[in-house]
Structure formats: C-alpha cells, structure tokens
C-alpha cells in the first residue's frame, strides 16, 4: 500500500517559472524524502527532511514539512527543461521500518 499522495498528478509550466508539488501522508514519520525519476526508470534522491525540521533548501529546491497536517511541499525555482521528470515523495515511518513508502508521484513538464 502507498502512504503518500502527491498533488497535482501532473503539472505543466514554462521554463523560468516556479513549480510546486505537494505530498500528504497518513502515519507518523521519521523523515520524508523527495526523489526524481526520468523516463520511468532509476530514481535520484533530491532531499531529505526530518520530522523535527520545518524547511530545507538545496540549490533551487525548497522543501517544507508540516507534521501537524501530515504534508510536505517541494518547490523548484526558476525551472528548466531538464527538470522535466516525475517527482515522488517517500516517507520513512516512525516504526523503524527503513523501506521507503512512496506516493504516486507528480509528473512535471517544463516547456522551453
């Protein structure tokens, strides 16, 4: 079963615009991670935010976490055509089970 739900399912923007993707989850977590996937194959880890953190930055990426609402957002600023991919949030549960629990993903298209 999948714990996370990304919103929107698909997003299309112009190059240079910002892209915001949201993720909601159901059970308490140790941390939440965002991944990017190109062409339906290997996933690339983007950023990890722990349950006691509220915001984190990495380059053009900004992630927020609201544990009271069980939600997270990923903001990509000044998007580029190369950012076109599917983006997944994945949670690590408090139970200590280390396998990642993924959402269904947001498909981002950045138009040049």
């Amino acid at each position: 079963s999948q714990q996370g739900e990304e919103d929107p399912q698909a997003l299309s923007i112009q190059e240079g615009e910002n892209a915001t993707m949201n993720c909601s989850y159901k059970t308490s977590i140790n941390n939440l991670q965002w991944y990017r996937q190109n062409s339906g194959r290997g996933l690339v880890h983007l950023i990890l935010i722990r349950s006691n953190e509220r915001e984190k930055h990495s380059g053009r990426l900004r992630v927020t976490l609201d544990t009271s609402k069980k939600s997270s957002s990923l903001l990509i600023t000044a998007s580029r055509a190369a950012d076109t991919a599917s983006y997944f949030c994945a949670t690590v549960l408090l139970s200590g089970n280390t396998p990642l629990v993924f959402g269904k993903g947001t498909r981002l298209s950045v138009i040049a």
């Binding site: 941390n31 290997g42 990890l48 997944f88 280390t98 396998p99 993924f102």
Partner: protein
C-alpha cells in the same frame, strides 16, 4: 565510483516461466532493497536485506517471489510461474546502512514484461 547496476535492463518472458533479476549494489553497502513499480504508480517495497539475511520480506506479494543475497553483496530476485500481473519495473536500491536516514541509491531497474 560505480552505482547500483541491474541486469537485464529488459526481460520479456511468457506466462508460467521462471525469471531471475540481478542487482549489484554499491560496494560496501550493507543494506539492499527491492521495489516494484507499475505503470503510473510509485515504487512499492518488496524485500530488504541487511547483510545476507532478509530483514523484512513483508512486501513480497506471494510465495512465487523469492530473493537471495548469499554473500551479502549481489542479490537475485526470483519469480516462479510468472503471471501477466507481474509485469512492472523492478528497482533495486542499496544504502550504506539500514538507518532511518541512510540515503538509498537506486539502480536503473529491470523492465519485466510477461506475455
């Protein structure tokens, strides 16, 4: 250094056949994970190894699926009597340890098609 590799990259088989999918983790990584991703979905956990032992196999859908990691490095996912519903991309990941914040590095996946 080399990342996680998976072979074959694509596998087409007929219903009822047996298949083996191989994963070579990053050298020195003690934890290894198998996930399955169906079209339009996120990856779903199958099994993970800490060293040679399966620490959690709760994601394996049924007893047709089995995985081994005999020497604590390479792992093989084995599927018996394949069914059309087994068609998916099978992803392998490894991490240095099995800590809650240990980053998992993913391979490119094996796309399995059961005709």
């Amino acid at each position: 250094g080399a990342g996680v590799s998976q072979t074959p990259s694509n596998k087409v088989t007929e219903k009822g056949k047996y298949v083996e999918l191989r994963c070579d983790p990053i050298s020195g990584h003690t934890a290894l994970y198998w996930y399955r991703q169906s079209l339009g979905q996120g990856p779903e956990f199958l099994i993970y190894f800490q060293g040679t032992g399966a620490a959690d196999d709760s994601g394996l859908p049924n007893d047709r699926f089995f995985a081994v990691r005999p020497e604590g490095s390479v792992s093989t996912l084995k599927i018996q009597r394949t069914e059309r519903g087994d068609s998916a991309v099978y992803l392998c990941a490894s991490s240095l340890g099995a800590g809650l914040a240990d980053e998992q590095f993913f391979g490119p996946g094996t796309r399995l098609t059961v005709l």
